[in-house]
Each structure stands twice: as structure tokens, then as C-alpha cells.
């Protein structure tokens, strides 16, 4: 598979990025923010696993990674450090979609390539040195909505478990989901906040089911394992549930699908970091890539689950099963990733 298929533009209008080719190997930095959850850890591991593949490693002189925590100003400062330290490209998983205009300007002056992924930036239009790698969040929300529409027996009452308030990803997925639901105005939608966290989600859903009664379908942006447990513990009829890519969630679906717990699992893949690195190298080599790269959403459902391929009975529940992008030649096995020891 060639890069072309991997780097699909978000839309025909979203423009492309190309910089004068540089000679490799390259010095690439990653200014990560928060690190205190399983997804971030696996994301870092995927990056390192990918970077250590011979073909890739040959292109990289230095891969410097820092995690600065949740503070916006610290992440900006980190980027400035990397810019002035003369790195060729900087990857970021942004603490805020809007906070980086000034530093983007400085990066542009210095001719440094910025590749943002996962929590991406709001474009102002001026950035010619910015490549963004992500899954289309709106599309993901819509995809889930559509799947629910197809799989719900009845369509009276749906429970939507949202993410972290005030966060742009939450906003996008919510919008997408509502677009899908708008198809059928009769549906009553109950919203609760789950913070993408199993504990919070489980509690909120359990309470909502107890108070607002049974539902015909559930969409949860994250913390899917907890949400599913809430449904299982509620003694309410099992209904279709659309959730994230956690291994534990998929295990539960597989175990209970026969009892009606149909499940769709499409997640933000931790391997986005690998795609971002791939894109960075491509641009530095002089290739032209879309400014807004949309990698395919790695979705699977109760029909397509396959042990060892897209879910892993013997791996941790917190492992994110959507860990590879075949069409991007990113096929690290689960063990490549979890095997990445801390050294």
C-alpha cells in the first residue's frame, strides 16, 4: 500500500502541505501533553515501536519526546524549545485546539514542520507548515449514530454518554452523533457526562438507567467498558451499544452478543502517533501531503470481532484494540507495542 491511500484528505478543499525536501536522517520531536492514562501510554509506545522499525529508524537521527502535563503554556514553551533547538519537525497532541497560534507563527518563521494528531488544532488558514493527522471525529460520531439506527430494535430512547466538557473532540463527536440522530426526530436522547472515564461513565449510566429507565441504544464516547458494565449490572434488557476501541469493551461484547448486547467499537487509535511520524517524514522528504489527513476509522463490531486480530482475550482490558493501520503500512502487532519496555 502506498502512502497515497494512507494520507486521505479530510475534504477536497482542505489544501496540501509541501516543504522543500531536506536530506535525512531527521531530528524529530514530540511535545506530548498529559500522560496519565492508558491511551497516552500506548500512544507513546506505538510511536516508539514504529520508529524502531528498521525502515523508519533509518530516516530518524533523533526522536525526542517530552510530556509536559496539562498546562498549555508549558506545551507552548516545549515547542519553542524544540524550534530553537533546530528540530526538523515537531509532533504534538495539543492540550488546547486554539492556544498555539503564536507558536505556530514562530514555527513557520523557523521553517519547522508541525504535525498535530489526536487533539488537533483549529486552523486559522495561515498555517502552511502544519499537517494534521486524525480520524474524523464528526464522522465517527455520525458513524456510531447510523450504526445504532440500523441495529436498535425500537427507536424511542437513546442514551448518549459524552466526554470531557469544554473539549473540542467531545464537541465534534457529539455534533456527528446528533446529525445521525436528526434523521429520526421522534427519538428521545438522554445525555450524561462520562469524561471518557470508565468510573464516571459507569456511575452516570447506572444512575441514568435507574432513574430514566431502560433505553433502546447507548452511544458512549469513551469509558466503554465501564458503561457496558453499568448496562450489564442494571438488570435492564441488553441493547446495542456503540463505543470506543478498548479491548475490555470488545471482550464484553463478544461474551454477551448472543444475549442482545450488540456492539460497535470504533476508537481513536493510539497508532495515530505512528501515522503522524510517517507523515512528518514524508513531508520532510519533499512529498506533498494533505494538510488535513484523515486516516480511516478502525471500526469493528460484534460480527467482525476476531480473537488475536481485533480483540485480544489475553491482553489487558485497558489495551486499545484498534492499534494498527494496514493501509499505512503500520502493522505493529499488539506484542510489538506492549513489548516496548520502559527503557
Amino acid at each position: 500500500a502506498d502512502a497515497g491511500q494512507c494520507f486521505q484528505p479530510a475534504s477536497s478543499t482542505s489544501g496540501t502541505v509541501s516543504l522543500p525536501a531536506k536530506k535525512g536522517p531527521y531530528r524529530i520531536a514530540f511535545a506530548n501533553g498529559f500522560i496519565g492514562n492508558a491511551w497516552r501510554v500506548q500512544m507513546l509506545q506505538s510511536l516508539k515501536a514504529y520508529a524502531s522499525q528498521p525502515a523508519v529508524a533509518a530516516q530518524i537521527k533523533e526522536l525526542r519526546i517530552v510530556s509536559v502535563g496539562t498546562d498549555v503554556s508549558a506545551q507552548i514553551a516545549a515547542m519553542d524549545n524544540f524550534i530553537s533547538a533546530g528540530f526538523d519537525a515537531i509532533l504534538i497532541d495539543a492540550n488546547s485546539p486554539t492556544a498555539f497560534k503564536p507558536v505556530m507563527r514562530r514555527a513557520k518563521q523557523a521553517g519547522v514542520l508541525i504535525v498535530s494528531f489526536d487533539n488537533t488544532l483549529d486552523r486559522t488558514g495561515k498555517e502552511t507548515n502544519l499537517v494534521q493527522v486524525n480520524q474524523d471525529q464528526v464522522a465517527m460520531g455520525k458513524m456510531m449514530g447510523d450504526w445504532l439506527n440500523q441495529n436498535m430494535k425500537e427507536k424511542k430512547h437513546v442514551l448518549e454518554v459524552r466526554g470531557v466538557p469544554g473539549n473540542s473532540v467531545d464537541r465534534d463527536r457529539h455534533d456527528g452523533f446528533r446529525q445521525a440522530m436528526a434523521a429520526d426526530p421522534g427519538i428521545q436522547i438522554t445525555e450524561v457526562v462520562g469524561n471518557w472515564d470508565d468510573g464516571t461513565g459507569q456511575k452516570a449510566v447506572a444512575d441514568s438507567l435507574a432513574v430514566n429507565g431502560a433505553v433502546d441504544g447507548i452511544y458512549t464516547q469513551g469509558g466503554s467498558t465501564g458503561v457496558t458494565h453499568a448496562l450489564l449490572d442494571s438488570h435492564k434488557p441488553l441493547v446495542p451499544i456503540a463505543g470506543e476501541g478498548e479491548n475490555g469493551f470488545r471482550k464484553l461484547i463478544v461474551a454477551n452478543a448472543k444475549d442482545g448486547l450488540l456492539g460497535e467499537s470504533a476508537g481513536q487509535s493510539p497508532a495515530l502517533s505512528a501515522v503522524a511520524l510517517k507523515a512528518a517524514i514524508a513531508v520532510l522528504q519533499g512529498q506533498t501531503v494533505p494538510g488535513e489527513i484523515r486516516v480511516p476509522i478502525p471500526a469493528a463490531n460484534y460480527k467482525t470481532f476476531e480473537a488475536g486480530k481485533n480483540y485480544f482475550p489475553d491482553l489487558s482490558d485497558t489495551f486499545f484494540a484498534a492499534h494498527d493501520f494496514p493501509i499505512c503500512d503500520i502493522n505493529m502487532t499488539a506484542n510489538d507495542i506492549t513489548g516496548q519496555n520502559a527503557k
Binding site: 507513546l44 507552548i76 514553551a77 524549545n81 488546547s96 486554539t98 507558536v103 483549529d122
Partner: protein
């Protein structure tokens, strides 16, 4: 430590590094300064972070347009901090609530208000104003100048004023202060209101650094905790009566430098949080050394 960090810079001291380092350093320094005032009275303000975020959100709405509008915007931002601080002050002085728990409650409310002001991240802030305030003049970062101004024009006079000394008096022994006719109420009010004001100044700076705002509870929490750490590293006693803002500012820069050391000592990403935690733990434990030296065990007990 800061020096060490700059010295270790692979490419020498680059103005951008200096500017951004000082920007984020000053940000925390202002929050730490805000935290110092209540701590000096023997209290604490767990809502400083929330006030920073609140004023950040307010600023992202108001600091734009004509020069005049920007001016009013800035005033409004500082005003928001002032009001928040006043709210805390009344809770503590009139409501007689324990500061730690009262500000815990108010911080939730302040965060709620921030969400009202800015449900989604974003905001349009005047570019020129922002770059001016976060840039440098004659190689000196503007943020540093702002900090210096706060020190010289606000803190130093305050410390020498009757109310300022009242703050220390109340922190040292409130009942005695009251018995000696110290203006207990006035001093406490001043401490918490001043805290809110400085926090909003930090919020303004954050807005100018990011040219936008996000109502983030996590960031609010982190800022609060870091401010307390900075205050302690800066040598201010959490029991009140001893210390000052100058120390807290140093503490803030030390704390930031701990984070920056990661750039120069390139630690493996999975080890970084551990290293930072350990260094923080050691840093805060340093304040304890004098305690270990006292030969009269009684003095080590409250």
C-alpha cells in the same frame, strides 16, 4: 537551577527560549504570588487555579477590538478576579468558613462560571496586543517586566503598609492580633481580594500566551497545586506569618525549571513523570531541613 537549565541549552541561550521560558515561569509565579497572600494569613486559597481559568475565559471574550475596548477588556478581566477574590474573602471573614474548604467549594462554582463564559475552547484575542505583551523589549521579556512591576509597585508597598503587616500578624496569631487591635477583618479581606486580583493577572497572561481560552478543570487544579508547591519551596510557612511573595516567585521558577530539565537531560518518556515527581518531592522536602536541625524537640511540635 534556572541558570543550570539555560546553561545546558544545547544551542546556547536563544531569546525565544528565554521569552517562552519566562512567559510560562511568570504565569506560575503570578499564581504562586496570588496563593502567598492567603497562606500568609494562615489560610489557603484552593480556588486560585479556577480564578485563573475564569479570567482566562473572560479575557478570551473581551480583550479584542479597538485600543479602548482592549483597555476596558483588561479592566473587566482584573475585575472578575477581584470579584472572585472578594467572594472568597467574605466567605472566610464574614462567613467564618475554614479557608481550605470554603475555597474548595468556590473553585467549583468559578469553574462552572468559566464553562458558562466559554462552553467551547477558542476566543479571539488582539494579535498585536498579545504578541507585544508576550514578546520582549531590548531583550527583556515583557512578562518579566510585568512581574517586576507587580513586585515593586504592589507587593513592596503593601508589605510595608499597616494592612500588609496585619496580614502577617493575623497569620502569626489571630487571637493576639485581634486583642492588639489589629484590623483583622481588613487584613484578611485584603489578602483574599489581592489573591484574586493577582490570579486574574495570571489568567490575562495565559490568554495572551494562548490567544484563546479553554475552561479546563484539570488545568485549574494543576495550577492550584503547583502554586502551593511553589509557595512552600519559596519558604513561606503554611501555618502563616512567615515568608513572602519574593520567595514564592523563586519557588515558581524552580518548579518550572524542574519540568524544563527534561529537555536537556533527555529522559525516556515513560520515566519522565517519575523523575518529575521525585524532584518535586525532594524540592518540597528541602524546606524541612531547619526543622531537623532544632535540638529542642518541643519546637518541632505544633
Amino acid at each position: 537551577m534556572f541558570g543550570l537549565y539555560l546553561a545546558l541549552q544545547p544551542h546556547g541561550i536563544h531569546t525565544d527560549v528565554l521569552i517562552t521560558a519566562s512567559n510560562k515561569g511568570v504565569l506560575l509565579a503570578l499564581v504562586a504570588a496570588a496563593q502567598t497572600l492567603p497562606v500568609l494569613t494562615g489560610g489557603i486559597d484552593l480556588s486560585v487555579g479556577a480564578i485563573v481559568v475564569l479570567s482566562n475565559c473572560v479575557a478570551s471574550v473581551l480583550v479584542s477590538g479597538s485600543g479602548l475596548q482592549i483597555g476596558f477588556g483588561v479592566l473587566a478581566v482584573l475585575g472578575s478576579g477581584l470579584v472572585a477574590g472578594l467572594f472568597n474573602a467574605l466567605a472566610v471573614v464574614v462567613g467564618r468558613l475554614q479557608p481550605i474548604i470554603a475555597t474548595l467549594a468556590t473553585s467549583t462554582m468559578f469553574y462552572g462560571v468559566s464553562l458558562l463564559v466559554r462552553p467551547n475552547p477558542g476566543g479571539n484575542v488582539d494579535d498585536d496586543f498579545a504578541s507585544a505583551m508576550t514578546g520582549a523589549v531590548f531583550g527583556v521579556p515583557v512578562s518579566m517586566l510585568v512581574l517586576a512591576t507587580v513586585l515593586v509597585l504592589l507587593w513592596m508597598p503593601f508589605r510595608r503598609s499597616l494592612t500588609g503587616r496585619g496580614v502577617y500578624a493575623v497569620g502569626s496569631a489571630e487571637a493576639s492580633a485581634y486583642m492588639s487591635g489589629v484590623k483583622v477583618v481588613r487584613s484578611k479581606l485584603a489578602a483574599y481580594v489581592g489573591s484574586g486580583l493577582l490570579a486574574s493577572l495570571a489568567g490575562l497572561l495565559l490568554t495572551l500566551i494562548a490567544e484563546s481560552a479553554q475552561a479546563s478543570a484539570i488545568q485549574a487544579g494543576d495550577l492550584t497545586l503547583n502554586s502551593i508547591a511553589a509557595v512552600v519551596i519559596g519558604g513561606t510557612s503554611l501555618f502563616g506569618g512567615v515568608g513572602g511573595i519574593v520567595g514564592s516567585i523563586l519557588g515558581a521558577f524552580i518548579l518550572r525549571t524542574i519540568g524544563d530539565l527534561l529537555f536537556v537531560l533527555s529522559a525516556s518518556p515513560l520515566w519522565q513523570p517519575l523523575f518529575q515527581g521525585l524532584i518535586l518531592l525532594v524540592a518540597v522536602s528541602f524546606g524541612a531541613l531547619p526543622m531537623l536541625r532544632t535540638r529542642n524537640r518541643l519546637e518541632t511540635y505544633r
